[in-house]
Subunit: 148 residues, 2 copies
DNA sequence: CCGCTTCCTTGACTCATTCAAGAAAACGGG
DNA sequence: CCCGTTTTCTTGAATGAGTCAAGGAAGCGG
């Protein structure tokens, strides 16, 4: 996706187009499940002087309008992704933190309707699978930590 | 559940029985989805001088042996509960943070097997439903914040 | 090109959680 | 019942993701 596309995407959500936002959107697009620090590093490759606050603000704004989704498995910091609205879920490694997407194949949204909704207006079901990734299963020691 | 029962529970998991651990276990048992601060306050009703560190340590230890489970919906601090191994899930209010248990009625663990496991050894599927609780649906302003 | 509004920079700050060192308590063996 | 070893608790400081706030800069409609 080119810069112009990101600009158009921002505009279509009624957001002002700034180079910081374009860079943040690009960073999230090219680094699925990246945490804020990774996004900051990625953004600084093209804009060396962005402040961390601009990145936090952009991520919040993009999340608010739905261009980006934030996920936060227990024990992890916030991570961001662009795949939205396709009802996919996540597989998280307990050992190294690796996160991979899994498509929801159980036909129409498997867990979208809790047995008894307690009067809640449910708008989303988030499924997180916990386990050990291939690398951590083999090496008993397990790879370092906090992969993506 | 009485103190002796909590002691027995700790012993059956090969843990030393300390009044701090008994109190923490009791606090989690009586305050489902409580965050650490709430647990500390609850514990201090019977043990005014416990350190916060003792509570953090106990919660980690209890979680490690499986007597307690920790959950952490995005944007929330860690919360603890004693209902474990019964495959129940959570309903979280986006507005006030209220967390409610929902039983998993879709027969045998609905989402326990991702379509493609990417080589992971999956041991748990965690489902979180997001929405608005009854109170936040009615009062357009929505109740304060961070309920349980 | 102007001006209003929104966004970014800078720098301080919050607060959940962790780290570390020494004191205290648990509990198996004598 | 007491001792010694090991684990746990207390105390106090530190870490780090994320937030707050004020002023300067940039976006964009006119």
């Amino acid at each position: 996706m080119h810069a112009e596309d990101y600009s158009a995407t921002l505009r279509s959500s009624s957001l002002r187009v700034t180079k910081q936002r374009v860079a943040v959107l690009a960073a999230v697009d090219t680094h699925p499940h990246a945490d804020t620090e990774t996004v900051i590093r990625s953004v600084r490759e093209s804009l060396p002087d962005v402040s961390h606050q601009a990145v936090y603000d952009s991520l919040h704004t993009l999340t608010a309008v739905g261009l980006v989704r934030s996920i936060q498995p227990s024990g992890s910091v916030a991570r961001y992704e662009r795949r939205i609205g396709d009802n996919h879920h996540h597989l998280v490694c307990r050992s190294c933190g690796l996160i991979v997407d899994v498509d929801c194949t159980v036909g129409r949204a498997p867990c979208l309707s809790p047995s008894h909704d307690h009067g809640f207006a449910v708008d989303q079901a988030e499924v997180t699978f916990w386990g050990l990734c291939p690398d951590c299963r083999s090496g008993s020691e397990g790879p370092s930590d906090q992969g993506d």
